[in-house]
Amino acid sequence: MSATQVGVDADARTDTALVRAARLGDQEAFRVIVERHGPAMYRYALRMVGSGAESDAAEVTQEALVSAWKDIGSFQGRSELRTWLIRLVHRRAVDLARRRRPVPIDDQVMAAIARPAPDDPLQSVLDAELLAALQAALDTLPPLQRAAWLLREVEQMSYEEIATALGVPLDSARGHLQRGRRTLAERMARWR
């Protein structure tokens, strides 16, 4: 039998293969996990911790990733890797939200989040305003409603994945989502 050692493109690995390697201490495999799922984790953290708290979102995301590295041996593959990682972010984001008081919207931060469209400055401004309005509306939702809405509408997760990520029963996840949708629709009705 020949077991030739041939280099393998880490980016081509499935999540299962990456987790297996990371569990054995392969930092390159973990780096690919970070690149693959980190942007969604960070995006979720930004929206969950609310306006004007980009550094908090960064800290929440980094803590979740370090925790994932330390505890990756406990990931048994019963859920998607993405769901597990989002759950790690969610716990920290909710803890943070409990500890701090609401802060007013920082327009500069919102402008930084909404990447401008260079070919259409007017559209870029409108988009930035729309995203700011969305964030302002999200900030008024209770954390679980906000989380359920973000995971469904932005991250396009299934109801089962949302329930797992939030650590709540399936019916509860559906309920939070419906209430969140209703409230957001009311809040956004003011925006034209």
């Binding site: 559209q123 729309l130 509408e153 396009q156």
Partner: protein, 158 residues
Amino acid sequence: MALNSPDDALARAVELARGERPEAWPQVAASAMERVRAFVTPSVPLHAFAPDGGREFDDRGSTTRVASRVVKAALRAALDTATHTPDALDLLIEEGRLVGVEVALVGSYGTDLHALAEEVRTQVLDVVRDLLGVDPDLDDADVAVRIVDVVVGDPRLR
């Protein structure tokens, strides 16, 4: 884009939010990986063996120890091939001496698994002896190999 109804506005906001690529992400990722690299994996020092099978390398009684994480990393790299890849690696250690290695493997479909297990035992001993020298009491009977999964294609990718 004309937004004629609140539903249009919310739909557009969702579309924008889905496409967001936060500009600070590269710095966030770099900081996270820096913290990951700084995290020290638990490890214990293992006795290395001199050519005579003893632990002393010279007349002054010099000894050498190698961190278990170094041995584990070398095993992981050696066993990560197109026909098999490690799923778990456990070093059995007694009083600083490596007394056994347990390997769980994922193999490629179509591979002769009995032959694979034999090959892996040899590979493990080669790596261990390369790093720790030859322990006269450690042989292939101390290397336990389990095939825990078989996948189609290159197991490093699946």
